[in-house]
């Protein structure tokens, strides 16, 4: 319940945060809403020596019209994305997936940047990012900046491809105005992580499908996408949902059950989204 002791630095700007990361390297962790990191610290599964609090960087909290995409500041709280008219109009999959994250109290604190940087294969946001073909902007302590495509952001189990001296500053979501979409989240109790989940997004005649909790990272269901591109029906394409996946077996579900859920939920998502 009580985290291991740490030193605390409150950053007044992104530059200050990056300078702190530059100084402390991988001994430091950024904390935005803290609703992925703090629970781990309370269970002592994580014990960074230095916490760099970026929660007050309100100039990184925004939802802006970027022309062909929506630009969302990394510090934007889930609640603000959930109710954003711009997101609901141009990327409703993201607004909807966000509304399923945790519970209202969690959504008042958690941020999209924090969620993506946490790189949890069982979280809802990353699947929406992948299905929408989104990307993140990452700034580094040496002043550099790069754009990381969603598919390149998730390196391993709870491991993003960010270096210890980088932070996400913005999330870019291509607009999908009027395109079919669907989000499926299967769990047994309110506020639970998905046992298995699916994000499906139609885009200009093709579709992207991303799965939740079917591998150690957020992952695209490429076999399903290829089947759809080949003209398969929703039911037939969905039969490929477990191909290439490595779901874990745990207290909630066996590997077989997860594979089954992936197929059923993918079929539902594709049909609801009008994709096939």
């Amino acid at each position: 319940m009580i985290p291991v002791a740490f030193d605390y630095v409150r950053a007044g700007s992104a530059e200050e945060a990056l300078a702190a990361l530059g100084e402390h390297g991988d001994e430091a962790k950024l904390m935005a809403g803290g609703h992925s990191l703090l629970p781990m610290m309370k269970l002592r599964l994580a014990y960074p020596s230095v916490i760099v609090d970026i929660g007050r960087l309100s100039d990184l909290s925004y939802v802006n019209d970027g022309g062909d995409h929506i630009a969302i500041g990394a510090l934007t709280r889930h609640r603000d994305i959930e109710i954003s008219d711009m997101v609901k109009e141009h990327a409703p999959l993201l607004a909807h997936a966000t509304s399923h994250v945790g519970d209202p109290q969690v959504r008042h604190r958690g941020t999209i940047g924090g969620s993506l940087a946490h790189a949890d294969g069982a979280a809802d946001h990353p699947s929406a990012l992948l299905a929408l073909g989104g990307s993140v902007v990452a700034r580094s302590a040496d002043g550099g900046e790069r754009v990381i495509e969603g598919g390149d952001l998730f390196a391993g189990f709870l491991e993003s491809s960010l270096s210890p001296t980088e932070m996400i500053t913005e999330v870019r979501i291509p607009k999908h105005t009027g395109e079919g979409w669907n989000f499926q989240k299967f769990n047994r109790r309110a506020q639970d992580w998905a046992i298995v989940g699916v994000s499906a997004q139609r885009s200009n005649g093709s579709a992207k499908v991303a799965l939740v909790n079917m591998a150690s990272t957020p992952i695209r269901a490429t076999a399903v996408e290829e089947a759809l591109a080949g003209g398969a029906s929703a039911a037939d394409a969905a039969e490929q949902a477990a191909v290439g996946m490595e779901p874990s077996s745990d207290l909630n579900a066996s590997v077989d059950y997860r594979n089954h859920l992936a197929r059923v939920l993918t079929r539902r998502a594709l049909q609801e989204a009008g994709i096939a």
Partner: protein, 196 residues
């Protein structure tokens, strides 16, 4: 972290291995890290406004807001009911928004305004939500109740006329072992309907 509830969680070995490898500069310090020695955490001075009154104190950075409220500020209406940010018994308002104070550090509340269950009543006059809970018998043991009331007020702040389904979804972050939620939902609907 509730998906890890129960016995040793699947994936935890990998998680610990990853945590250790990230902290370590060299290979052989993996052995040394099996005992966590950490001289960090010098106290930080913070000032938090709680129910309208400013409280200044020195806190270790790792102090959770719920512990700060209960121990340093001395308001024990806010409860700790779990270890996993699930139960919501610790729910308070931070700058007017319902948050789980067990998943907020006291240092994050520095310079901010916190409202606890003790801050709702106006003298002897109960807040309408408190009165609705009383009238609808929305509590038995009362342990989840402060968090339920704070969360319920937040639901109505954001959605003044919710459907019953919206109330149930709005209370997803609060667990009750006694009541089965039925009367809690009635209380929130009653408060929304302005029956008070």
């Amino acid at each position: 972290m509730q998906r890890f509830a129960g016995s040793r969680p699947p994936g935890m070995d990998r998680l610990v291995e990853v945590s250790l490898s990230r902290r370590c500069d060299s290979e052989d310090s993996v052995q040394q890290s099996s005992t966590v020695t950490n001289l960090k955490g010098a106290p930080v001075e913070i000032s938090v406004e709680v129910n309208g009154t400013s409280h200044s104190s020195d806190v270790e950075p790792r102090t959770l807001l719920v512990h700060h409220i209960r121990d340093a500020v001395g308001l024990t209406g806010t409860n700790v009911g779990c270890d996993t940010s699930s139960c919501g018994a610790c729910t308070v308002h931070l700058n007017g928004e319902a948050v789980k104070s067990c998943t907020v550090l006291a240092v994050q509340a520095d310079g901010q305004a916190v409202t606890t269950i003790e801050g709702l009543a106006d003298g002897e006059t109960m807040h309408p939500m408190q009165e609705a809970f009383m009238n609808c018998h929305a509590l038995q043991c009362g342990y989840c109740t402060p968090g339920m009331v704070m969360a319920s007020i937040s639901i109505l702040d954001e959605n003044p006329n919710p459907t019953e389904a919206e109330v149930r979804e709005g209370l997803e972050g609060n667990l009750c072992r006694c009541t089965g939620y039925h009367n809690i939902v009635k209380a929130v609907m009653s408060a929304a309907g302005g029956d008070q």
